[in-house]
């Protein structure tokens, strides 16, 4: 029996848009085990990204508790959340969100600036992370000089460089062609299987979801009963 990494209990998230209340998540319960690779699917506006943001400490629930690896994110302050994110979680976005002014290596190093590591050590770790994603030879290139798939690999390297337990991916292949998407997904699988990362991936793409260990479907702020193994 694998141990539980994340627990969500009775989580609701309500946005106030002008006078209108939008219930994005409604009394949601979820357990995620360490070592899981979970795909979250569902139509636009079903609350996938909001759920991901809550798990990553980017957002806080209106009600309920979010517990990740023993940290109660729902009751932490913004600066506590910042510190927590720096070491416990890595993010991967659809549009990579690399800093265009920095080289691949410097982009990957970014999270390490928040630690007390020496410049040499930071550089060494960034090289390792780039090596894992298969881009060691592109370290000195800037994002503009890389292809979409390569940019996403750099983003993945950035997500894993501080060795977090949890990787959160928001449509990581949404902007890539099929072949490149498959490569990225295989990389995520490797990170899950060989490096023991717990991965939660929001996607629209059923083929992408196939790479995950299991798939959860969301609709209108709730998890649907059916899961795909």
């Amino acid at each position: 029996m694998a141990e539980t990494l994340a627990t969500l209990q009775g989580v609701s998230r309500v946005y106030q848009k002008g006078k209108e209340r939008v219930d994005v998540l409604h009394e949601l319960d979820l357990e995620i085990n360490t070592g899981d690779f979970l795909a979250l699917m569902g139509p636009s506006g079903s609350g996938k990204t909001t759920l991901l943001n809550l798990l990553g400490g980017l957002d806080k629930p209106t009600a309920g508790t979010v517990n990740v690896g023993g940290a109660i994110l729902s009751s932490m302050s913004n600066s506590q959340l910042s510190n927590w994110r720096a070491t416990h979680v890595g993010f991967i976005f659809q549009f990579y969100n690399l800093l265009p002014v920095l080289t691949a290596r410097k982009n990957v190093e970014l999270p390490l600036l928040l630690t007390n590591m020496s410049a040499k050590e930071r550089s060494r770790r960034a090289e390792i992370a780039l090596d894992i994603v298969g881009l060691a030879d592109r370290a000195s290139h800037r994002p503009r000089e890389l292809s979409g798939g390569q940019e996403q690999r750099v983003a993945i390297a950035r997500a894993i460089v501080s060795d977090p337990q949890l990787l959160l991916c928001d449509e990581p292949t949404g902007d890539l062609d099929r072949a490149t998407a498959d490569e990225i997904l295989k990389l995520l699988q490797t990170l899950n299987a060989e490096h023991g990362k717990t991965i939660i991936m929001v996607t629209h793409d059923a083929q992408a979801a196939d790479y995950a260990r299991r798939t959860l479907h969301m609709d209108k702020g709730k998890l649907e009963a059916r899961t795909t193994a």
Binding site: N83, F91, V101, L110, L113, L114, R158
Partner: protein
């Protein structure tokens, strides 16, 4: 410091924009340096004046002369270590536009009282011995190409000679300089004995007295004692420290300093606006990137610091360049035009003040964009990407 690389790279994201902003900041600080140096000249060397020297002038006005007999009476006042006299000559060399200060003095006593004036002892001795000997500052010697041994005719505007002539011929015996880089020596000294003997009127008077107070004596008490001595005589005196005298003279120029400050105010206001606009443009353009920094775990305060540092960096780059160019220009002007514009000087205080302004302006210009960056909601910002 480990963020410096990131800050530096972000600064140069838009090279044209950053360069233009730096250039406009450069101009602002160049103006600051030049106006400050000019303002220093207007303050007439207050800073180089001594607090141990007192100046005794006629109470009605500086232009009224005092009897020469006062010298002995001042010398015997308790607390006075040494005293000498000087008189304004007000002449010019060759053409009226070549005006500079000339003083009739007792050479030996005068140099003894002004140790900051450097002159080779043999030149001083020669100047004192030659009845028509004169000593000039190196600025004047350079400007007019005078060499020791030259005979220099000075045209009087006030002091006609007893023989009706207006040309006073003087032999250049010595060239002086100041041991203080801020001090100007753009003036001429010649012997009071010759002046007294040859002038057509005003005999038996001197323009003012300068005295050195004895060690430990209170300058205010000495000044009061001197003024009390001559109270209720036809020639009452007003004694003040040299520094206060210089300051009161500088104040005669009045609101000029205020006007200079107004100009600088306008310049810096504009500068803030230009730099602030650049910063807010730059922050607006990279909201998603700033959100990424936060996602990765950068704390709000760190993001604030990064944006503020960028703003301070841009202003400091421009500021340091502007001050540097200003410094060179002021050096050049004071060497080339020391005779016509004496006392122009960029003081360390002004440099320090400029540095303070750089940091202050950097913070002010970057504050609103930085606060915006700090308060950025990650969720919204990423949604925009």
């Amino acid at each position: 410091m480990k963020y410096f690389g990131l800050i530096w790279k972000n600064t140069w994201r838009k090279k044209v924009r950053t360069s233009l902003t730096i250039l406009s900041v450069l101009v602002a600080f160049l103006l600051f340096a030049l106006l400050n140096a000019l303002g220093y000249a207007f303050r007439a060397g207050e800073d180089v004046s001594s607090a141990e020297r007192l100046v005794v002038i006629h109470k009605i006005s500086l232009i009224n002369p005092l009897p020469i007999s006062y010298e002995a009476r001042i010398a015997s006042t308790p607390g006075v270590a040494a005293v000498t006299h000087a008189s304004w000559f007000g002449g010019y060399y060759q053409e009226p536009r070549n005006q500079f200060a000339q003083f009739a003095v007792d050479m030996t006593a005068y140099f003894a009282l002004y140790p900051e004036l450097i002159i080779p002892p043999e030149q001083l001795e020669a100047a004192a011995k030659n009845r028509i000997g004169t000593v000039v500052g190196h600025e004047l010697a350079e400007k007019f190409g005078w060499k020791i041994g030259d005979r220099i005719p000075i045209q009087a505007t006030i002091w006609t000679k007893a023989d009706g002539g207006r040309t006073w011929e003087l032999d250049l015996e010595g060239i002086m300089r100041s041991n203080d880089p801020r001090g100007s020596t753009a003036f001429m000294l010649f012997n009071h004995d010759y002046f007294e003997e040859a002038r057509a009127f005003g005999k038996g008077t001197a323009g003012w007295y300068v005295l050195q107070i004895a060690p430990g004596a209170d300058p205010v008490e000495v000044a009061n004692a001197i003024d009390a001595q001559f109270a209720n005589s036809p020639n009452e005196t007003k004694t003040s420290t040299e520094a206060a005298f210089a300051a009161s003279f500088a104040k005669q120029f009045g609101n000029i300093a205020l006007i200079v400050q107004l100009i600088l105010g306008a310049v810096f206001f504009t500068l803030l606006l230009v730099a602030g606009n650049t910063m807010s443009q730059s922050v607006r353009e990279r909201i998603p990137e700033l959100a990424v920094l936060k996602t990765v775990g950068f704390r709000d305060i760190t993001v604030l610091g990064i944006v503020l540092s960028e703003s301070i960096l841009i202003i400091s780059l421009g500021g340091i360049l502007g001050l540097g160019i200003g410094w060179f220009l002021v050096q050049g002007v004071s060497q080339q035009m020391g005779a016509s514009l004496p006392g122009i000087y960029l003081s360390p205080q002004a440099m320090l003040m400029a540095t303070g302004i750089m940091i202050g302006a950097g913070i002010l210009a970057g504050l609103f964009p930085a606060l915006k960056a700090m308060r950025l909601s990650i969720v919204d910002a990423l949604a925009r990407g």
